[in-house]
Assembly symmetry: none
Homo-oligomer: 212 residues x 4
């Protein structure tokens, strides 16, 4: 028997336990028994806070989505010169978040996929928001003349895909490269992919200046 906790605390405790289980063993390999054992709560208590195993996973995902999107600041509408730093900031923050939470990252790239219709839709929606953000950034860049011509949607997909793959591999442990290096190289690659070649030196200048 466990001391009575506030609804908030107990919920957190369960979410934390669930995160550890899902993140370590995966959704299907995790049983409700695992979660309640880790949280040291009785079976019934679990269902007092979450309707089902599926539901606690969903809650976890929503929390993650919220965390990620809250790290992203919209690009400035006017000052071209601020865009690179803003972009770098966004990429850096998201990278920092995901590198710092490998379990959540594993959920995102490994477990949230192919679970069921609802989860797939939720995930799609999440990525679409990010795609949209990138898409708008690129469009703006084109208008401002420093993003090269071309199919913005494909560019956006490439950028998102690059990011996802970096995170995926990072959590596989294959890549031990530290965050700073990854962000720098990612930024350069991404810049090369979309920046109008004559303007690329601006990016290089910027990176040089922002180097710590």
């Amino acid at each position: 028997m466990v001391a009575h906790l506030s609804k908030e605390e107990r919920s957190r405790q369960l979410l934390q336990a669930a995160l550890e289980c899902f993140g370590t063993k995966g959704y299907h390999q995790t049983q409700v028994s695992d979660i309640i054992e880790k949280a040291e709560v009785a079976r019934g208590t679990f269902y007092l806070y979450f309707e089902s195993k599926r539901e606690i996973f969903k809650a976890l995902m929503e929390e993650l989505f919220e965390k990620v999107t809250s790290q992203i600041q919209s690009l400035p509408h006017d000052a071209v010169e601020k865009i690179p730093s803003q972009l770098l900031g966004n990429i850096s923050r998201v990278t920092g978040l995901l590198f710092g939470e490998p379990l959540l990252t594993r959920l995102l790239v490994n477990e949230a996929v192919g679970l069921d219709e609802e989860q797939d839709a939720q995930l799609r929606n999440f990525y679409n928001q990010i795609l949209d953000y990138i898409h708008r950034g690129l469009k703006q860049g084109q208008d401002m003349g420093f993003v090269r011509e071309g199919n913005v949607q494909v560019m956006a997909l490439c950028l998102l895909g690059s990011l996802k793959e970096i995170f995926y591999q990072s959590l596989l442990g294959t890549e031990k490269t530290k965050k700073e290096e990854v962000v720098q190289e990612l930024f350069r690659t991404v810049a090369g992919a979309v920046i109008d070649p004559p303007k690329l030196f601006l990016v290089e200048n910027f990176l040089f200046a922002s180097r710590i």
Copy 2:
């Protein structure tokens, strides 16, 4: 009851049915019952050909891996000028394959992930082969002086990620863009990301020349 078939044919029939089920409903949502119903085969027959549900999925994945890797030709070791066409050819063939087999693609990006340890290892291995291929191509390009400097591993990840994302989105049906356009844009983005800027005009020339 079905007419007696050769081992080979019956196996094909089951694989086909399994592909349709897994590709449509996903691994976990698919029951052995679904597969045998679609294949019009008795329950016991299934286990005559495959040891388990997991095993037929594995067989399917191996087939897919084989198909994809067989489309990739290694880059020429000498002639720099042949590399872009070779690369474009590889990307184009793989894209063609995956665009033509949405079910297999869905398996690859949606179902093969987070299944279990073994599957994750298999998938990791597959992607590592491709990463390796890209990695070597880039390294070669650097030596030959037309790939820009930088962390080749990160570049490779970005390229792979871009490809994966394109396929992922294409199967979501979000992107209706036809294969040719996708390949072209992908190639340009990828080129921009990794080619030494002064050499980029070569790529443009090449794309112009290869346009049908």
Copy 3:
């Protein structure tokens, strides 16, 4: 939270809530949660007043048994001529009670049955009391010569069964007939069933006289 009530009042409140739940949804479909919600009382409070869900149901049933049996006055031992009015009075009062309390009636005919050994015994006991009352009445009538000959037990069962069915159907809402008509017809049917034919005219006279 509810203002502090006296033990008596709180108990009543819970019984009332329970009656509404059991009477509407049935015993098994009713959860303790339903009762405490309706009573606007905390979970623990419920168990302060009743030992269990089963116990509050039992209390309700005992109350009902008490109500019903209190409506029944024993037949006069001497004056034959008073018996019909007494009988009609009893039937009329019980009918009035049950028609006026559809929820209790539903409990009696629909939920009290097949619950468990104890409940079945309690119910059997209740009906046996009534059967006994009828049995004695008939016996007396035979002695007095105006109930026909025959197996008094079977007659008694028929009378009880007729009553029960009338109440059962009345609460199903199938029968909209108003109480007075039902009582009259019931009385006549019952009379025909058991009265010595030559004496039947007495009943008719009586009914005619008692008509309002």
Copy 4:
């Protein structure tokens, strides 16, 4: 492990086991485990034949309804003189059936009631069919002039109620009276309740003649 049976036999076996469990312990006290233990089958086998515990109960009830209604022959439209024997035949057959199957009878009167909405509706429907049969019989009798005047519906309810009560008590074991006696007395009571008094002697004659 059990020998392979035909679908029909296995289904029968399960129904029989279920009948014994439900009839003895009641619906709620019976677990699926009880049924499969009695039938000596594995858990999964049960669900091969019946979708759920609820469903096998329903099947049992439907079988009972079928059995009962198949015992009832409709009354002759013309020959008045045949009606009593027909009626007595029907009552006798149904009584024989239910006296011979105490478990089914227990299901009918004790368990089928208050289970859930669907079951209640099914039961109501069954009784309505019987009520209808009685109602039509009485109406016909009135037209033919040997059923007394009065509210036919109430009469029908009384008849049905009488029957139900007889069966209910008979299965309680309170009444050890043998079938023949019960039927005779029931018939006489019922006759007295509804037959036009001057015609009653016909019934007595009939009963006398049919006495074995």
